[in-house]
């Protein structure tokens, strides 16, 4: 996978838990163009291992002098977000992937409802730039714990005006999804990014009301869950890899010197899918890509987020 060599140009503490990083091209040239909703995977060279996390690009797609990402320090981090917060400094060189968009706006939509929860605001920061350029009708519904934890409210107020609706949990504000989604004109698309329960609630509400699947969009990167250590055998490579509890299978395979395909590293895109040749039934599928029947068959696995509790796992790699 082709990578971009970037330099950290600025770091800003946005809220007690969120930092905003600005990357510029190491050679000073413009960075590749991207569309609203795109993300990059940032490689973090920590001691003894490499973390690779996907972060949404927040800036305007019209400005490619710099890329902007925001990282929330996760309480139960495996280390990636903590590394970004504690080890990354201005002037540091980093490697990131080319932008990929798995959360694009539907250009045919007549109206766009964007629903963000907490740090889930980030993909919408670039999407609203696209929507404004298109002159499209949109509403941004932004829910968070409290104003002190809510990133970019002032910037969003400036950019969105009346189209911004904020909901602070600490003040008892509540976003009534049923009311919101039952009153939209035909041709409306809904987009949600936030914690899993919020995503599920939006999808369920829209589907129950009869919204077609083509009008419902979500981005829900799963960070690889911590689990029990296990061993995986790679049939083509002829090696056995130890997967520690706090490392994903994909990371462990990379640490063993292989370079398997990947894009999102969050169980969404399907690029890293591998065929399971043998297993004793203990696969824990944590992705949002495989269908229920594919998961049940245990013939395929997404090594970026899925693991096994079983004793025996052989992959076609």
């Amino acid at each position: 996978m082709s990578t971009l060599n970037v330099k950290v140009a600025a770091i800003e503490q946005v809220t007690p838990l969120i930092k905003h990083f600005t990357f510029v091209n190491e050679d000073g040239s413009l960075l590749p163009a991207f569309s609203g909703g795109s993300h990059v995977v940032v490689a973090m060279e920590a001691e003894g291992r490499t973390y690779r996390n996907a972060y949404s690009l927040m800036g305007s797609p019209a400005e490619t002098e710099a890329y902007h990402i925001s990282v929330r320090k996760q309480e139960n981090s495996r280390g990636g977000s903590v590394f970004m917060h504690e080890n990354v400094t201005v002037g540091m060189s980093m490697k990131i992937t080319q932008p990929v968009n798995l959360f694009a706006l539907s250009k045919l939509g007549h109206k766009h409802i964007l629903i963000a929860g907490g740090i889930g605001i980030t993909p919408f920061m670039s999407q609203i730039e696209d929507l404004k350029m298109m002159g499209a009708r949109f509403e941004l519904h932004y829910a968070f714990r409290a104003y002190q934890h809510a990133a970019f409210v002032n910037e969003l107020t400036e950019k969105c005006g009346d189209s911004l609706h904020c909901y602070a949990d600490s003040q008892g504000d509540r976003l009534d999804l049923n009311e919101l989604l039952s009153s939209q004109p035909l041709g409306t698309h809904v987009y949600v990014c936030g914690p899993a329960p919020m995503v599920v609630a939006v999808l369920e509400t829209a589907r129950t009301l009869g919204w077609p699947e083509s009008s419902i969009h979500n981005e829900e990167f799963t960070s690889p869950p911590v689990g029990l250590p296990f061993k995986v055998q790679l049939a083509k490579s002829g090696i056995e890899v130890n997967v520690p509890g706090e490392m994903s299978m994909l990371e462990a395979i990379e640490a063993a010197g292989l370079q398997p395909e990947y894009l999102c590293r969050g169980g969404v895109c399907g690029r890293c899918e591998l065929n399971v040749l043998e297993n004793d039934g203990g696969i824990e599928h944590n992705d949002h890509f495989l269908s229920e029947s594919e998961k049940a068959s245990c013939r395929k696995i997404m090594p970026c987020v899925s693991r096994t509790k079983g004793k025996h796992l052989v992959l076609d790699l």
Partner: protein, 200 residues
């Protein structure tokens, strides 16, 4: 045509069945499409509000309007021609909300007239359930002069506008709601296969 040949652009039609999840239903039907509507109501009377716009006669002079009046519980509108039906469809869609499910039954021409109208409101054709009735007649787009030739029942047809002899292809445009028609005798003027009715 070669056996096993299949082109992705050619629409596949189904039988109408109610969407389980919906806030309201809008059913458009023409001619024998009235039977598809009766079959829908045989399945059940949906809990959500229903609106039915029906054009009697259609392609086969079929008229189910009397029976429909007995079966459709509310909001049944009968039309003598599809222009007025499509006008009223626009009014209906302009006040509709997301959660409305749309169903259409009639000739392919009628189906795509409805789909093109719905597209003006941001409704994608693949979100409309479609049942083909009445006829296999095709709307053919002359790729040379851009004229639309309606109700073509033969493999080769003379363009009503430029009078070229057109071969009716399987290639279908959802945007135009029509099959592509290409001049059949470019290389050998006046020489082409026999004209046969294959889309009755």
């Amino acid at each position: 045509m070669d056996r096993g040949y299949w082109i992705r652009s050619k629409p596949a039609y189904t039988s109408l069945t109610w969407h389980e999840k919906a806030s309201a239903h809008l059913v458009l039907a023409s001619g024998m499409g009235g039977m598809a509507v009766l079959k829908l109501f045989q399945q059940m009377q949906p809990a959500q509000p229903v609106t039915v716009l029906y054009e009697k006669y259609g392609q086969n002079a079929a008229d189910y309007s009397e029976i429909l009046q007995k079966v459709v519980p509310e909001n049944l509108y009968i039309y003598q021609d599809d222009d007025l039906l499509l006008e009223n469809l626009k009014e209906e869609l302009s006040v509709s909300r997301m959660g409305l499910r749309i169903y259409v039954a009639g000739s392919e021409g009628f189906i795509w007239d409805v789909a093109k109208t719905a597209a003006l409101f941001g409704v994608e054709n693949y979100d409309i359930m479609k049942e083909q009735t009445d006829t296999l007649a095709r709307t053919v787009y002359c790729v040379h002069c851009k004229a639309m030739n309606k109700n073509v029942t033969t493999n080769i047809t003379k363009c009503t506008s430029c009078e070229r002899m057109l071969f009716v292809r399987e290639h279908f445009s959802r945007n135009l709601g029509a099959y592509m028609g290409l001049m059949v005798d470019v290389e050998t003027p006046g020489e082409f296969a026999a004209i046969e009715e294959i889309y009755p």
